[in-house]
Structure formats: C-alpha cells, structure tokens
Symmetry: C2
Subunit: 161 residues, 2 copies
C-alpha cells in the first residue's frame, strides 16, 4: 500500500493552501479516479462522511455539486464550476461550501509524472487570508490527509483488479 | 456626466486587485449594463480596443469568451465561467487571458445601494503575487480606469434615452 506522505502548506498571512502528494500510479490512473464521478465518492473527504454526488460534469464550463453527510445526519453541501480540464495534466475549478456562501476559492490540481509514479500538486487561493484561515480552522487538514490516503488505497485496489 | 473617481488597490506582496467606483444609477441599472451581452462591448476594456463576444452566458455554470482587437489587428482573447450570479447584488467568475494560459484569477463584483446611487466593488484574487504583478504590469490599471469611465458614460446615455 502507498504510504507516501502528504505535505500541506498554508503559510501565515497568505490566502493559499497547497498540497503535494506522490502516488504509485500513472498520471492517467490518478486523473481518472480524481475526476470520474464513479470514483470520487470513494476518496473525497474524511472516512466518516458519506458523499452523494448531485452533479459532476468534468469539462470546461461544467458544474459540480455534492453533499457530505455525517453518521448523525449533518449535511455539508459543496459546489463549483470547472474552468480548465486538461486530461491527465491540469484541472482548475471553483469551490464553495454552501454553509459559507460567497467565500469562493479557486483550486488548481496538476499532475506531474515522476520516476516512480505521479506527483499531485494542488494550490487553492481564497478571497482573503481570513477566509483561508476559517477553512483551515474548520478541520480541512484532517479532511485532506484522509482524502489523500483514501486516494492511494483506491489506486492500489484498482491496480489489483 | 458621472465624474466619480475610480479607486484601484493592489497592495504590494498580495495577490489581490480591488476596484471601487460609485455610479449615479440604481444597482439594477448597473447590473444590467455590466452583464447584458448587448451592453458589455460598449464599456469593457480600453476605448482603443474593439470587443467581440463569442459567448456570454451569465448564470451559475455559464461560460463567457470574448476577443479584444486593436486598430493594428492584434487580438487578445479572454474566457471564464460564472460561479455566482445574484441579480443586482453579486457576481463571482473566473477570468483567464488565453495568452497566459493557466494563470486563472477569481473575480467578485458586488453592488451596494448608496444614498446617491450604487457602489461597485470588485475584488480579484490571482494564484500568486507574481501572477498579480504581471497583470498589473500589463497595463490593467489603464484598462480598468477607461472601463469605469465608459460604464458611467453608458449609464448616463441609457438614462437619457
């Protein structure tokens, strides 16, 4: 199983959150599980939330919307639009938690082939430092770490099958 | 004619550009000329460029794309997607100059009623300070000032008619 570390960077006083993680997979394999709505609910978010996709139209100008539901019935809805979708290379999309309307951030995910696999690098930029800080304080780091580990597990499982 | 000042703010070391301008119009009048593709080519950009709209679908999930052409035939193409469209209140959209692909920024425009008219406030956030600086150095300030003046002229003309 892939046990590569996840590096999360959120420098104080900036509106950014960056994440880097390497996977033992090809860019095409990683891109597929990250963008295919059949796979997305299997890795996106913490393990204790159940994800339901309402829309996931991965193309420039396409929209997405999904709900994360906790065991005690709490629901968190997220939505956005895809600006750039370059297969196996680059995705740029907006992201909004509907519980904090108007605090929209822009996320960029790039896929880089390495000697042993693929390096995922994401860069999110928020409208303000305060907005970024609020996202960090909401437990985003925990969600990112679990998402990246689940992604590695899913890739390992897909490779076996 | 409206001669209110345009305030442009781009603090050093940040990825932001903010613009504030008041207009002698209602939020509904300003929102209409800012979003209706019939009016947009009449104010968006410097006076010496001719704007052609290829797509301008102002709704959440809608896309836009347009070309600015100079007198000597130089063409500049821009595109993006609308994330939020709250009539007369708030628009959040992505923005990319196709000549600098991948340098996508997120723009927020809000409309606030004042005692004498409406205050437009825009806040753009770039993926990095370098990307913001490059936009500023490209002459963005000149384009913003002319756009805001043209917008005031268009609103005055529409009010007369």
């Amino acid at each position: 199983m892939n046990t590569n570390p996840t590096t999360i960077s959120a420098p104080a006083g900036t509106p950014y959150i960056s994440v880097t993680r390497e996977f033992d997979a090809t860019p095409a394999q990683l891109f597929r599980v990250q963008t295919d709505p059949e796979f997305v609910p299997q890795w996106l978010g913490p393990r204790d939330l159940t994800m339901t996709i309402h829309e996931y139209d991965v193309r420039p100008g396409g929209s997405y919307r999904y709900t994360h539901k906790s065991a005690d019935g709490e629901e968190y809805v997220f939505r956005g639009v895809f600006h750039t979708v370059d297969t196996d290379t680059l995705v740029i999309q907006t992201f909004e938690f509907e519980g904090a309307p108007g605090e929209v951030c822009l996320e960029r995910a790039s896929y880089e082939k390495t000697d042993t696999g693929v390096r995922l690098h994401t860069h999110s930029v928020f409208p303000s430092v305060e907005s970024r800080d609020a996202a960090v304080e909401s437990g985003m780091e925990y969600g990112i770490n679990e998402s990246m580990d689940r992604l590695a597990e899913l890739l390992a499982k897909e490779e076996e099958s």
